[in-house]
């Protein structure tokens, strides 16, 4: 489903973020990408999301060469992916409820349906009663959950999450992992950039380890 073929990413001033990265992820897989800070984890996710283009090499998603998607078709491509940003990227000019509903609103879905689904997502992440709060007033863990709910509300075939347990306590981290595992069980291909050794080893999924922009190991954890 996802294939990196000899991908290089060089930033200006010769910063070699990725060099000769190749791997494949099958439909329905649950994969961790790990490695020290600056190893290139976020860069990989950004390339997959087509926020950035590789310097060399090809990236295929569903046998579509995503480096050649025109800007006109980019929105449609991105709708097939849920992305959980390291810094959440919630909108602070509208309440939690509207933040979570946004991907559906943007698609022009029926408002009745949007409201029902958004409420279901909010109930699922345990934020019932906080629908009208500005995300500003949510705790870090709550924001993280909101970001995941927003990414999952469209039931995307692919979910990408950048350090979803970054600054959370153990309890919240496991709650988050539970949500992602649930989405994966429902058929979503999940790729997570993470540092959290404990979670990775307990879950026992595939781990791609990077160092200085190279894949150093790729094995089941």
């Amino acid at each position: 489903m996802i294939k990196f073929n000899r991908v290089y990413k060089v930033f200006e001033r010769d910063i070699q973020a990725l060099s000769d990265i190749s791997f494949e992820v099958k439909r329905g897989e649950f994969v961790f990408i790990t490695g020290p800070s600056g190893a290139g984890k976020t860069t990989i996710l950004n390339l997959l999301y087509r926020e950035d283009l590789p310097t060399m090499g090809a990236i295929f998603v569903d046998s579509l060469d995503i480096t050649h998607i025109g800007t006109g078709r980019l929105p449609a491509y991105r709708r097939g992916i849920g992305f959980v940003f390291q810094d959440f990227k919630l909108l602070f000019d509208r309440p939690l409820f509207e933040n979570i509903a946004l991907p559906l609103v943007v698609r022009g879905e029926n408002m009745e349906y949007v409201k029902k689904l958004a409420q279901t997502m909010i109930d699922r992440i345990g934020l019932t009663g906080k629908e009208s709060l500005n995300p500003w007033h949510l705790s870090g863990g709550e924001k993280q959950k909101a970001a995941i709910a927003r990414a999952l509300i469209t039931s995307p075939p692919i979910l990408l999450a950048d350090e979803p347990t970054g600054n959370l306590d153990d309890y919240s981290s496991w709650e988050i992992m539970e949500m992602l595992t649930e989405a994966n069980r429902a058929g979503t291909t999940v790729i997570i950039a993470s540092h959290n050794k404990e979670i990775m080893s307990k879950l026992g999924h595939r781990i791609i380890r990077l160092d200085k922009g190279k894949v150093v190991s790729d094995a089941m954890g």
């Binding site: 800007t71 929105p75 990227k89 943007v106 022009g108």
Partner: protein, 292 residues
């Protein structure tokens, strides 16, 4: 209207800036409206003057009646002639002494020094017509001299044209300036919402969905600016008409532009239309500059 919410957010964020943008449009619409009124007034005046252009042929003393009648007949048959009148020296004299200064001049003569004349009124003014009719009359036996006021009329028309040109140039400058102001203010909104735009793109919003609110913002500025510009014009015109009526007794409100069915309906629509046009173009400029 799934992006109605985003328009609201934009207007809220812009706040005071929206007022400046709408205000600039209002000023421009006011200026254009004032220009339009003055221009159509001047045009009306110019037409009125042009349609009253007269060529006067002064006859030699003791020109026989049948000769005069002949000249009148032939002149009437010419193209571009609206009316031909025979003015006797006594008619002319009566008219002259209406004016006390002229009367004083006349009093220095013994009897009536004025000649009989044939006065030709043209249907519309053109230089060519005047020349043609004058030289026709000049060649007639019995005609002493031909006069017409073409010089003054041409001066007047030149002045009118110059005024129109300057006003049009000022109008264009205003239009461009206000579009730039609108565009810059929308740029500020776009800039303030950069992060939001980024998020919208990331969750797969179409470009049109992202940009529409900014276009709508310009249009809304234009709508309110246009209406405000018209209202200001309405106020100024109403006051001026009242003032002029009081001071000169001249009632301009009968002039078609100032009648309610024109001023309050058609001109309001034009103003709002112009405002929306300005706002829309301004926001399109922003699109070109901010979204590549």
């Amino acid at each position: 209207m799934r992006w109605a919410k985003e328009i609201g957010t934009n207007l809220k964020r812009s706040g005071f800036m929206s007022l400046i943008s709408a205000g600039t449009i209002a000023i421009t619409v006011f200026m254009l409206g004032a220009y339009y009124i003055v221009q159509s007034g001047v045009t009306f005046l110019a037409r009125h003057i042009e349609s009253n252009v007269e060529v006067t042929a002064f006859l030699k003393n003791n020109t026989p009646q049948d000769k005069t009648d002949n000249i009148i007949m032939e002149t009437k048959a010419l193209a571009g002639v609206a009316e031909v009148r025979f003015v006797t020296k006594w008619d002319a004299f009566q008219e002259f002494i209406q004016d006390p200064e002229m009367k004083a001049v006349m009093d220095t003569f013994e009897g009536n020094p004025l000649p009989d004349s044939i006065v030709v009124r043209l249907d519309t003014y053109t230089r060519e017509k005047i020349e043609r009719i004058s030289s026709f009359l000049r060649e007639k036996d019995g005609v002493e001299e031909v006069q017409y006021g073409a010089g003054e009329i041409e001066n007047l028309i030149n002045i009118v044209n110059a005024v129109r040109f300057i006003a049009a140039a000022a109008g264009i400058i205003f239009i461009i300036a206000s579009m730039l102001v609108v565009s810059n203010i929308i740029n500020l909104t776009i800039y303030a919402r950069k992060q939001d735009i980024y998020i919208f793109r990331m969750i797969g919003a179409d470009e049109s969905y992202i940009r529409m609110p900014f276009v709508a913002e310009g249009v809304i500025h234009g709508l309110f600016g246009g209406a405000a510009g018209w209202a200001a014009l309405y106020g100024v015109v109403t006051v001026l008409i009242a003032q002029i009526r009081q001071e000169t007794g001249l009632d301009l409100s009968v002039y078609h532009i100032f009648r309610p069915e024109y001023f309050s309906v058609r001109l309001l629509l034009y103003s709002v239309g112009a405002g929306i046009g300005l706002g829309f173009t301004g926001s399109l400029l922003s699109q070109l500059r901010m979204f590549k």
